[in-house]
């Protein structure tokens, strides 16, 4: 498994895509820091990168890489190697390299320019989103043999989680605004990792705006130690779900 992981990582490094991704993140973070040295504004600008760009890159790269290493996987599977090992090493190789790229790209400017708690939380959230969307990419890839179709599915995932889902929530809030929606929205947010990541960051950044009744309710939940543990726990579950399902499909799949 370690050997497989090593070869997969080596493969990924050879494509230079992760290096490009790291360079992009470095450039973006440096310019954000230079634009405004106020840490709160830095976290805000980075938040958009983390919520939009990171999932998109992860999901596209994950899918493309899966299909590019199709032959490699076929070769490996013809050897006496456990299917699960092949899959896990592929997943870990992609996930780890993307996380590493993110941590280096965003972390180095943080070390140089300084960071506060909000930025550190952002770093953690970014790593988790990277893993979640890598998992989703693998899920899309194992669902179909057609690369173009798989990329279509991944894009759909991305659009759904970052745009359509919020639209649905807004619609529900509009339709049912006569009713107490606090618990419902709380649950709905849990069903979307991007929203959950956003709310975790909101608790760090916009505390003072969240002081109305609803805000206080969310603050009460997400701002507390328990809420933090729960929301990070749910993110963890979000990492595991696509991973688990894609692995299951992969094990039974006729490659």
């Amino acid at each position: 498994m370690i050997k497989l992981l090593k070869y997969s990582l080596y493969n990924i490094l050879r494509t230079k895509f992760t290096l490009l991704y790291t360079a992009f993140l470095l450039l973006a973070t440096f310019s954000i820091y230079n634009l405004d040295p106020d840490l709160a504004k830095v976290s805000l600008s980075l938040l958009n990168v983390v919520l939009l760009v990171v999932p998109l890159i992860c999901i596209i790269f994950g899918t493309v890489h899966f299909y590019n290493s199709y032959e490699f996987m076929e070769l490996m599977l013809s050897q006496p190697i456990n299917r699960s090992t092949v899959f896990i090493s592929q997943y870990l190789a992609v996930g780890l390299s993307l996380c590493l790229a993110f941590v280096i790209g965003v972390g180095i400017p943080m070390i140089l320019y300084g960071a506060d708690l909000a930025l550190l939380v952002l770093l953690a959230v970014g790593v988790m989103l990277s893993l979640i969307f890598t998992g989703l990419a693998f899920l899309a890839s194992v669902l179909t043999r057609d690369k173009a179709k798989a990329i279509g599915i991944t894009l759909l995932f991305w659009v759904y989680f970052s745009l359509i889902y919020d639209g649905l929530i807004l619609y529900l809030i509009y339709v049912f605004y006569d009713y107490p929606l606090e618990h419902a929205t709380l649950a709905m947010v849990m069903l979307n990792p991007v929203d959950l990541a956003r709310i975790i960051m909101l608790m760090q950044l916009d505390i003072s705006a969240l002081m109305g009744f609803t805000g206080a309710f969310f603050q009460d939940f997400y701002g507390s130690m328990k809420g933090n543990l729960i929301s990070f726990g749910v993110l963890l579950i979000w990492i595991l779900i696509p991973f688990y399902f894609s692995r299951r499909v992969f094990l039974k799949k006729d490659i």
Binding site: D36, D38, A40, K41, L44, L47, N48, L51, L52, S162, L163, D166, G167, I169, L170, I173, Y174, Y177, L181, E182, T185, V189, D195, R198, I199, M201, L202, L205, D206, I207, S208, A209, L210, M211, G212, F213, T214, G215, A216, F218
Partner: protein
């Protein structure tokens, strides 16, 4: 009959204060020669084991009573003649929860250097460490007032100086705390350099005019840091109002000047940096309004000027209800607020001019330092959140950002004319005169 006149004169620096002082000096110049025919002022000493009350009974108007260090278990010390009460090294006067400590109804009295503690609570009698009625030319200086219900309670008096006092109460429920400095129906006062914490309202003024409040630190009070009503022509400089339960609320008053103050950390659903209710013709300049749920909340306030203020990291920098008219907001800095301005109506008669908004994304082709396209500070989403509070859960999501962009280009549900025609490109360099 006036026997003696204390030579301490309340010095207020507000305009009319000076006139009062000059009048007073003039009157003294005329009357003192006749008056000095009486006996000379004496100095009476009170040491531990003796009673301040006895000394006051013995004293003649104009005398000085010096109280040496120690603990004096006394309450309701009534002062009905002009005396100067001086505590050396903070002698402690402990009411032991029995009620008022000093009750003053005499002109030209000074209380300085005491530690007054444990007045006990009574909503019926407003127990206070220092309670003053119908007294002119009063000075309360350099006292420590701890665990009192009301701290300094003044009614129907003139020419008052309260400075360098330290007031702290420890009760947690606002029912069991009184106001720190309470002025009712009084005029010409100076409240300066005091520290007030743990009371109901830090500074409370009602029907108090010509009051100058400066360099006070008011924090962690159970209700408002500063609360006034019907208190016209007052000025507030260099005060710090921090972390009070409901912030600062001022009402039904005109001609207020607030400058160089700090309003900070007032967080909560009913908490405001400054709440302005029916305030008119007032000037609010050079203030720092930082990290409040709502920086400034305005209702029914007309013709006020807000200039050179800093709004930083507030939930809402300004909530402007439609009942406000003719206010001018110019040259302020809005930095890092979640929402800059929200309003309830569609018709806006308030003016925004040359403010710096960190959310402005326009350009400056002619390089005059001001953007060429107007800035609309009202966020569409704040209007939605106003109507449906749960919607805050979607704040900062991609979709909301898109909707907001669209709204800024073509306003549909936000007032079209709420805009700054000349938004500044870089923050104003504001001198807050910080030491």
């Amino acid at each position: 009959m006036i026997n003696q006149i204390n030579l301490t004169i309340p010095l207020t620096t507000s305009g009319k204060g000076y006139i009062h002082c000059f009048l007073w000096v003039f009157l003294m110049a005329v009357f003192i020669p006749f008056d000095l025919v009486g006996q000379k002022p004496k100095v009476l000493e009170v040491r531990e084991g003796e009673q301040i009350k006895k000394a006051i009974e013995k004293a003649q108007p104009g005398d000085t009573i010096v109280v040496y260090p120690g603990i004096y278990r006394e309450h309701e010390i009534i002062v009905q003649k002009s005396l100067t009460l001086i505590g050396i090294d903070f002698p402690v006067v402990d009411s032991e929860e029995n009620g008022d400590i000093f009750l003053i109804a005499a002109n030209s009295t000074t209380v300085t250097g005491f530690e007054l503690i444990n007045t006990g609570h009574s909503n019926l009698n407003d127990h206070s460490a220092i309670k003053v009625f119908d007294s002119n030319h009063l000075r309360v200086e350099n006292n420590r007032i701890l665990n009192s219900f009301f701290g300094i309670h003044i009614s129907n008096s003139k020419n008052i100086t309260i400075r360098d006092c330290f007031l702290e109460a420890y009760e947690l429920s606002s029912q069991r705390t009184g106001n720190g400095i309470h002025l009712w129906k009084s005029d010409t006062a100076l409240i300066a350099n005091n520290f007030i914490a743990g009371h109901r309202d830090g500074i409370y003024l009602e029907f108090a005019t010509e009051v100058e409040t400066s360099h006070n630190i008011v924090e962690k009070n159970n209700r408002y840091g500063l609360h006034f009503m019907f208190s016209h022509d007052n000025s507030y400089y260099h005060n710090e109002f921090r972390n009070n339960d409901a912030g600062v609320a001022v009402m039904y008053t005109r001609n207020v000047v607030m400058e160089y103050n700090l309003f900070e950390d007032n967080l909560g659903s009913g908490s405001y940096g400054v709440l302005l209710k029916d305030i008119s013709n007032s000037t609010i300049r050079y203030n720092r309004i930082v990290n409040n749920s709502i920086g400034i909340y305005m209702d029914g306030s007309n013709n006020n000027t807000f200039e050179h203020n800093l709004f930083r990291r507030n939930g809402y920098a300004i909530k402007l209800l439609a009942s406000n008219d003719g206010n001018y907001l110019g040259k302020n800095n809005f930095i890092g607020n979640t929402f800059d301005i929200s309003t309830s109506g569609m018709i806006i008669t308030n003016e925004l001019h040359k403010n710096y908004w960190d959310k402005y994304e326009g350009y400056d082709l002619d390089r005059d330092g001001y953007g060429d396209v107007p800035f609309r500070p009202i966020n569409m989403y704040s209007t939605i959140v106003e109507r449906i509070p749960s919607a805050i859960i979607l704040w900062r999501s991609f979709m909301i950002t898109l909707l907001d962009r669209a709204e800024r280009v073509i306003p549909a549900i936000t007032p079209e004319n709420m805009k700054d025609e000349k938004p500044k490109m870089r923050p104003h360099d504001i001198d807050f005169k910080l030491e």
